[in-house]
Symmetry: D2
Subunit: 335 residues, 4 copies
């Protein structure tokens, strides 16, 4: 379904070329001060506009349609809408019969019997991550004591990321990348056995972000070639601090007080200007396809802020579950 | 929480050295023939007994305590219990104040205020995967048309797995490994936007298995260094068949009809006989620790059948959601 | 939380005097034709405008903000917004320190630390039922073979309802009423043991409607004074048809194929012009209060269409669970 | 499904004549002292054995199979099993083709395609309430500051209850009754808009108890014939105390600090020795039926303790949600 979270519940809705995209947040404590300015920084980071990102320009202004009164959350559901203004739907008409390789075009059409809004990817568009980022902004405010930071550490197999992107653009191609995320100052005890381990919840949320192909915590895939004597992090004091952090801050699915660290693999943008092969779903014959429209050469550039957002959402939900966030924030300022 | 699934709901319970471990399954359709023999093969695969696995011997006999009548599921909850018989609790007493590095000992104690059953890892023991395997057996029967296969493809960085394990045993150490899982013959359309993508649900379930550090679908982390023109799988016919399968059988979070493929990284067993450093939680001082007891040198050896089980559980839940499994199986044989 | 339903998930949001109220529906099958005209009849029934209902005039026009494309549902979440235009917030300012007896003013202020939007009842306003009615319209279309009908059978203890209302208006007072709801042509088998009995789900949804004080199924409270030999409905054929219907169409929490029948008690509108006693939350002293503003003399008049809506929502969810509604409606008309 | 609750999650399982019935409780805080003796009083109240209750004798001894260690809850799932010993399955064989009027025999057979365990009502038996009572005992301990009391206030339309029962027994018939439940000392603020009102959650849980036909809060059905000026409870101080309590302790779905009061209607026991009419599902013809076996003349006698249990379960879940119960009880006594 289009919702995530047990107590801090995030519902994503909308279509790339419809009236709006957005998020409905249920379970946010009352009394959190919130204004549209709070969203500016993260929304700008998501939009990027940097070399390698799409030239589609939307002002991406959040509209707080419910749940906020006199500058504070009320405890009622918060609807945040982003109206679509700059959509160019004509670019996408052919794709309904010519599914783009690597995209959801084919699966969405099959699953929804052809009734899906296919324009610009519809409900499957990366534009839907606006709602994630918006919910992340609120979550970050709720757990402000935790520092969550994500950044691109590699693109196209290179750490000189700018060079890799230039090369992809010159080739009318796209490249993938790896984004690392860390969260510091977590309390010990976040995550629930058996099924709601911290890794389970984070990976669940992370794989809702389009283009993610893998996730690893701490040592990750390197763990497979390590010895236990190397991998076990020696504990040095009664707060649980360890010398190394191969665990990535998690033991038994529960935060151990050391920094949470994980990395995700982002595939190269599926939409490329190079000619590709696909099938014509009307004729059943294969055809050559050149994807028109505006694309990111490296979608991974825009992932960090989204990754921070889903991390904040997961941690907020767990902090609420632990009773670490009150149901009313800052009661003194209530009127 | 200790449950997973929306319509086929799996609840794990029990402790390693308590009376029993097991699973309560809610939402299983009525009319599925089931006997205790159905569980034998997968339970044996899990137990293994091979070189590199623990010498603790339990008969691991499932007891069908409810929900099955005259050899068929009734539609009521199915309780499957495994009684513990061969537990040696004396091995673990010291560990309550000396948390084993790499284990849940420290986090469990902190989270549950010291009330957790620490014997043999208690509720965090790998023994809890018995319930997963049992639920997986039932799930596999419900989706028998799908072939799910997992196997260890690498251990300790080697593909000559036996050699790697011998070396670890000789060093009183342990090693990790990589397990690959595939599922063939999936229908197109499994997985739900926005948050219940097939990757989201699989990774959620997979990270409930102890010792997993990473998961990747299709191309996985290699995607990060590929070009879009390489990575996009060309579509060759109107069933959605592709030439390559870098997508791992999933586009936009939804199965595309090609084989589902993913790999997981398993860390080296945390319990090793080699001396390690930890903290004494009573004194606050560091101490040397040698973990007694019976351990697996390569826990990854026992992961494949568990990985198949959680895959089957996830796919069963999605097939029920799609209406692809009837609420009553094989109505003709009803009495 | 503000959501209901397992597969057909209804999320209510908004405030009486905020920008909008509405509903976000997740899990609606694709391919259902839907237009804003479909909502007209039920929205008019809810608005009423008849004697005994509030003179506040809103055009109550639904805006389909997402999830509908080319006149059909897409399978993505459907956001339906109703913009507020005719709110008169000045009427309500005093009530923040003078909670109206019988209202949520006091409990909402305590629960949300005074941050709740108190204008016109805010998120607790009867206006929120607009979203319920809108979701009910879609649900009714999905289960069009079932006839759901609710009507007011008694008001102020009288069956001559108009007379009772006149009397209440003349007294500047309000009256309650009893609404009966029936649903015909249900399939046998809706409702789930142990906790999701048909009565459990219906009552859960029904008590979300403001002003409901009781619910009874079939014989209801009369059952308490009946003999078993009277109350047991004799079964007359193998479809399960019974002579009497004291069961109200439900046995063991599961629909039995006979008409579903239940009644709800609606309390008199809490907002009345008569002087009442309350406490001044600033001074702690009791005060006399005369509630200004526009009120319904008999809110029960507006309940029938809302009751039909929640009944349709519950039945839709159960029909989806049983696989009785396809995930794509009318596949032939897909493009 | 067979589970209820968001944070304190109760899963009911088992069959009347199977191996066992019981409950799996997930989300119980760690550190609650618990022993089998804690269950004695409520289990005895449920069993009753008084005139008007079934002569089936089971020792109803709870077995704490998991989640309890050294006399305290561990935070892991708690499995409580009741083994069946005194079942007389031969009494029920004919009922599979001759569904008892008023029972779940017909609906269960249809829903589960004849695979349901029909012996003694199987999963639909009143015996399943053992698990509810057991979970209620734990819930009551968690919210010990709240006094929950239920009692039978009327049977067969009489307040001289004993006389009414005698008469029913003499007539080989059964009678219904009304049970009232109150809970005192609730904090203000329990219950969630829009769908998880206190009434919604309580009624959801209450209608899982077999034989309940109606529920009303505070004034209940009488509200329908009252004036607003009568029904509104005047508020007398800033704690929200009211003079009358027609609201039953709830406004806007949220507890207001006054006593919670509600009543339920219990139908007469369906199993009676008097001859009744039903259909033979093999032949399709109607037949006369005399239900053999052991029955309660007034099942309402056994409802109070079950009603207290579900009330305690609901309140515990809400108290956890509010953060009013810590995740670890009494940390000082941790070892």
């Amino acid at each position: 379904m289009n919702s995530f979270g047990k107590l801090f519940r995030v519902n994503i809705y909308g279509e790339s070329h419809g009236n709006q995209v957005g998020v409905l947040i249920d379970g946010c404590p009352a009394g959190l001060s919130i204004s549209e300015e709070d969203f500016t920084e993260d929304l700008l980071r998501r939009k990027s506009g940097a070399k390698g990102t799409t030239p589609r320009i939307e002002d991406d202004k959040p509209f707080l349609a419910s749940g906020v009164f006199n500058g504070f959350t009320t405890g009622a559901p918060i609807l945040i809408s982003f109206y679509n203004k700059n959509a160019q739907s004509k670019d996408y008409k052919d794709l309904f019969r010519l599914p783009r390789p690597g995209h959801a075009d084919f699966t969405a059409k099959m699953k929804f019997g052809g009734f899906n809004d296919y324009r610009g990817g519809g409900h499957f568009s990366g534009r839907l991550t606006l709602g994630l980022v918006a919910a992340g902004v609120i979550a970050k405010k709720l757990i402000h004591q935790i520092q969550i930071k994500a950044h691109l550490i590699e693109a196209g197999g290179e750490t000189d990321i700018e060079k890799a992107i230039d090369q992809a653009i010159n080739n009318e191609d796209s490249i993938g990348g790896i984004v690392e995320c860390s969260a510091e100052n977590l309390s010990v005890g976040l995550g629930e056995p058996f099924f709601d381990s911290l890794e389970s919840l984070l990976s669940h949320a992370v794989f809702s972000i389009p283009a993610i192909k893998g996730i690893e915590f701490g040592s990750g895939f390197k763990a497979a070639s390590m010895f236990g004597s190397e991998h076990n992090d020696p504990i040095v004091d009664s707060t649980g601090r360890t010398i190394t952090n191969y665990a990535g801050g998690i033991n038994g699915g529960i935060s151990n007080g050391n920094p949470l660290i994980f990395r995700v693999a982002v595939k190269p943008t599926s939409s490329i200007s190079k000619e590709q092969q696909t099938v014509n779903l009307n004729s059943g014959e294969t055809e050559k396809l050149t994807v028109q429209g505006r694309h990111d050469a490296c979608i991974a550039l825009r992932v960090p802020v989204v990754l921070e957002a889903v991390t904040a959402i997961v941690l907020t939900d767990l902090m609420l579950l632990e009773g670490n966030i009150p149901r009313v924030i800052n009661e003194n300022s209530s009127r």
